[in-house]
Subunit: 256 residues, 2 copies
DNA sequence: CGCTGCGTTGACTTTTGTCAAGATTGGTGG
DNA sequence: CCACCAATCTTGACAAAAGTCAACGCAGCG
């Protein structure tokens, strides 16, 4: 049985030129000439096998990265050897910014699946940005969006209920998948329960139970890494602590 | 009894021209002429009373900010009315970047103490950066450092032991205070236990108990918001899960 | 000098982590 | 094509940690 996700559309939208333009040049007008100039800079579609490392702590800032195919995680390993997941990076999302502050990478980027990565040499990028104001704007905006994702992550992590964190995680994934032109309501998780747990600051068993609970409540359907969101509204409620202990999916909180 | 922190040195380093230059122009060579140009752009030392709001969600991106005096917090209020603290911003640390991604602020910035804020109009900043490469570099670097702080925050939040989070919080504060030329080993917290709790994703009682525990263990000395770090090495150990249940400060983990 | 807001501490409850045992899944090689 | 293996996921029982509720202490302020 082969992967049944409808990839046709998504695959098209992720051709490299579409990708580079799609994320760096969205609203602003960058003409064809400029585009060509940018395209020339981008080192295209470097392949990386699942589990492969793109960069590690201490590596000098060389490039920023966008996967055109496949997803990544960025992790740090604490003194005690615990792995903390700082972020998941879906196709089309810029990452590698962790080296911009100090000139060196602070974490390790690992492919969650076989992947193709577009590499954007940082020096070239800033060089071009200097005499291409619209690109400078876009670069800043994209960096800002990356910071927004970090803030979302922090916001999730400050929730004290495991159920809320898990629901928010799924909801966030749904939004991001939709944004990159994929189905947000039915998808394959690129990461393991353990990785989700390390991203959410929970034990992996707690994540597993959380998924089961949402399934029992009729909010989602899970088979391993395959997830379908059945009731987005209920998911939203679960994410807002609207727990209510009940098993009925559609029942609103009795109080109120 | 008046505030006994030795502020002389720190106060000097935070004069506005020193501030603007100190953080935007650190290593790169920016000549006096360029400096003057920058200085002209920075709107200086706007005063804000404790509890005052600098911007709120939905506000258009106008400026980036640096406090020359006083500290800030950035918060989001969740659907249920819970306040989550996304960051604390010490004097000399750039904030306000949460609007760069979307053009609108996503959180609220509130003064923790009476404060003086330097305002850096964003449009002007990028304008100047476009024909001043060294400033562009610095701007990116400073933005990167801000992202680094967010990553540190995430890293703290993914720890599952409250004691570790609290120790890491104090250690991070120590480092940041030192970096801005203040005493890292004896300081006054600008925020309440409740705010620390909302930053760390804990109950305020847990934070209070964590402080008491560190004090009992001889690691720190606390009187309300006044903190003295007695044993940095023990603090580091506490931050790395080196808990050992014991009460003796210097005793290493018995195993090992 | 008594408020009032913050911080601390204790007793108890709830949630989550831990340990351990199965169940599934996916991949590999016979 | 099937069987087996390893990795991953799920579930249960129990222990530990953190949250909640509540009372008290303390300091700064009017």
């Amino acid at each position: 049985m082969r992967d049944p996700i409808p990839l046709d559309l998504a695959r098209l939208r992720r051709s490299c030129s579409e990708c580079a333009l799609g994320f760096l040049c969205l609203p602003a007008g960058v003409d064809a000439e400029d585009m060509a100039r940018l395209d020339a800079v981008v080192r295209k579609r470097r392949p990386l096998a699942r589990g492969g490392t793109l960069y590690r702590p201490g590596d000098a800032l060389r490039s920023l990265y966008v996967a055109s195919e496949g997803s990544f995680k960025t992790v740090v390993v604490s003194a005690e050897g615990e792995e903390h997941v700082l972020g998941f990076h879906l196709p089309g999302e810029l990452f590698g910014l962790d080296a911009v502050g100090s000139g060196q990478h602070r974490c390790q980027a690992i492919a969650l699946t076989d992947a193709l990565v577009c590499e954007l040499p940082f020096a070239r990028l800033t060089e071009i940005a200097a005499d291409l104001p619209s690109l400078q704007q876009q670069l800043l905006r994209v960096i800002g969006q990356s910071a927004d994702r970090d803030h979302d992550h922090v916001d999730v992590l400050t929730r004290r209920q495991a159920g809320e964190r898990i629901a928010l995680f799924l909801q966030g994934l749904r939004e991001r998948l939709t944004r990159i032109g994929r189905h947000g309501d039915e998808f394959q998780l690129p990461m393991s329960r353990d990785e989700i747990a390390r991203y959410l600051g929970l034990a992996l068993e707690t994540v597993s139970r959380g998924f089961s609970r949402l399934q029992d409540d009729g909010v989602i359907e899970v088979h391993g890494r395959r997830v379908r969101i059945l009731d987005p509204e209920a998911l939203r409620r679960a994410a807002s602590g609207g727990d209510c202990q009940g098993s009925s999916a559609t029942r609103a909180c009795d109080r109120a």
